[in-house]
Amino acid sequence: MEDYKARGYITPEELAGKGLLPSIERLEKGPIAIAECPEEIPCNICKNVCPFNAIRMDRIYDIPRIDPDKCIGCGVCVPQCPGLAIFIVDLSKPGKALITLPYEFLPPPRKGLIVKLLDRTGRVIGEGRIVKVWSYDKTWAVTVEAPRDKYMEVRALWIPEK
């Protein structure tokens, strides 16, 4: 049994081991999608919604492979992934990381809001400002500014109720 199944969350090392992480050089060039989808589940929605044909899957249960040269980090896959498992990370701006996450809770996200940033275990690891929001069929894609060194940790956000 894989360790992440015995924990309920995956580590960056495990993602790297599965070949699911882009290189740091690629992240510094501009936004790119990271699919935290390590199991061979029968689903290829991301591959079919990608406008750049950047996700490779030969069989329906293959793990999605994102081509770092084709993916421009547009984020179309983020709210459409049924597992809400795709994130966009962008390290091209100095001093910060831009992270785009799926969000399906209330209150609705708004540009400019300061939100709590959570890691894969739900721990609050900082605060960040929302810089962009859009939605697809009731799922928000929210881009937050996060501390640069937390780019591989921030994977959820929480908007405190007033």
Partner: protein, 493 residues
């Protein structure tokens, strides 16, 4: 407490369309409700939690399955005892009484009206309007066949109506669309076909000789005897329970029961919850509880790892839901509703380790411990059955084309073995195409090719995924060739 409201006003995904406001009476007290709700949903929204008592009158019982399968909400509705109020729509002024012990038989003529009687013919009868039945009705309806669809719920869709997440799979087979949206789409299409008749609140209670099927219909009461040429039964599954002290306390509910309340009727099932079981149902329901504003204090899993798909676990873990592996519930505490739940760590023999108990203050305990196929119609009809643990229980043996050992009786969806909505759609379409071919409808070559493609996708692609291998093994155990089925029919196998 009665009086406070558990109705969800705002939800991140669902907009609840509530009908006209009405008033009905529960134990002679007025209760507000909206047309389109069931009696139980309205009572739950108003804060009621006890819906019946054990036959000795001592133990309160709450809502459990919410889809008319268990017996914990049997009530007296306008004088009719043993009415399942979880699937009984509210009406202005209806009088509902809680049942305590065995009810009095309804002998008065005021209660038992003369029941209208009808005989109906059809090319195909579809029993169950869930994913398998809906797709089959659409397929057969589009081929111009006369179809009757019977469902015991007040609306079509089966359990799709409470699935708010986007489905996995391929876009060709409804992947990427939220379950309740699929149900709405298919139901609208089917309702618009002149050659498809839909009977809601109809209970197909038995299959008789000459291929006649008895259907008891409520609201208004009617007895319909359908004589179809072919039958597809997609009767679904119901939730299993667990054995532990006080497992019948109100507030201990099937995970699907909570889904019905919060996602179909917009009623918050509780304030603070503990979930038992980390299969996909437990993981998905936990996420939906959070969306409905319920605090989830933990998820206990008896195995040492997540039972369902990892991505569903990651979704709730990153929102702070704690997993308790090798743990299960051993006791619930409360007087007329659950107030505390106790879990404990299990040893290698699945026995609780003394001293490992953890107590949670919760008013809701959801059991997500698997489903059991609704097999009774197949058994009653005399179909060859097999007990397959991988599929949740007893299921009919069937051919690759989904025909059971009763010629002309097909099976699809969870009643063929618990799997997923995606495979239910595909099985339903395979069964429908096989029925159409037997009836000589449509272009034979086209239908055969379509069916071949579906079979290839189902067996050679979708079910090859390692995460569904258990279900695949289960289905292989009960799927036989036409020749083998002939032997079973002759009693030789």
């Amino acid at each position: 407490m009665p009086g406070s409201s558990y109705r969800i006003v705002e939800h991140p995904v669902i907009s609840f369309k509530r009908g006209r406001r009405v008033v009905f009476y529960y134990n002679d007290r007025p209760v507000e409700a909206y047309i389109g709700e069931t009696i139980l949903a309205a009572l739950y929204a108003a804060g009621y939690r006890v819906f019946s008592y054990s036959l000795d009158g001592k133990r309160p019982r709450g809502a459990f399955c919410m889809i008319g399968k268990c017996g914990s909400c049997l009530s007296i509705v306008d004088g009719v005892p043993n009415t399942r109020i979880c699937i009984e729509p509210v009406r202005e002024g209806v009088r509902v009484y809680r049942q305590e012990g065995l009810p009095t038989a309804p002998l008065s003529k005021n209660v038992v009206e003369p029941v209208e009687w009808e005989e109906a013919e059809a090319d195909a009868l579809i029993i169950g309007g869930g994913p398998a039945g809906l797709i089959a009705a659409k397929t057969l309806g589009e081929l111009g066949l006369d179809v009757v669809v019977v469902d015991d719920q007040p609306r079509l869709g089966g359990q799709l109506v409470k699935q708010t997440h986007r489905f996995f799979g391929s876009r060709e087979y409804w992947g990427g669309i939220r379950g309740y949206v699929i149900a709405e789409k298919l139901a609208r299409e089917i309702m618009g076909m002149k050659n498809v008749r839909v009977i809601l609140q109809g209970y197909a209670y038995g299959i008789y000789s000459d291929n006649r099927v008895g259907v008891a219909v409520r609201n208004p009461l009617k007895h319909v005897i359908v004589k179809p040429k072919m039958i597809l039964a997609g009767t679904g599954a119901c939730e299993k329970t667990l054995w532990f002290e006080n497992n019948d306390l109100p507030g201990i509910m099937g995970a699907g029961g909570a889904q019905t309340l919060m996602n179909e009727y917009g009623v918050r099932p509780g304030d603070e919850a503990l979930v038992i079981g980390s299969g996909n149902v437990g993981l998905i329901v936990t996420y939906q509880l959070l969306q409905a504003g319920v605090r989830v204090k933990g998820l206990a899993e008896i195995m040492d790892h997540i039972g369902g798909w990892f991505v569903h676990a990651a979704k709730i873990r990153r929102l702070g839901v704690e997993f308790y592996f090798k743990h299960t519930i051993i006791k619930a505490i409360g007087s007329d509703r659950v107030e505390k739940a106790v879990i404990a760590e299990m040893d290698e023999n699945y026995q609780p380790i003394p001293g490992s108990e953890k107590v949670f203050d919760v008013d809701l305990v959801l059991l997500a411990v698997g489903l059991q196929p609704n097999y009774s119609l197949f058994s009653q009809a005399g179909a060859a059955m097999k007990y397959v643990p991988e599929l949740g229980g007893l299921v009919p043996v069937r051919t690759w084309f989904m025909e059971t050992s009763i010629p002309g009786l097909y099976v699809a969806g969870d009643s063929s073995g618990v799997e997923e909505a995606t495979t239910a759609f595909i099985e339903g379409e395979i069964a429908a195409l096989s029925i159409a071919l037997r009836l000589g409808a449509g272009n034979r070559g086209v239908l055969i090719e379509k069916r071949r493609k579906l079979l290839d996708y189902l067996w050679k692609e979708y079910r090859q995924s390692p995460v569904v291998s258990r279900a695949r093994m289960g289905k292989l155990k009960v799927t036989v060739s036409e020749e083998e089925m002939e032997k079973i029919r002759r009693g030789e196998a």
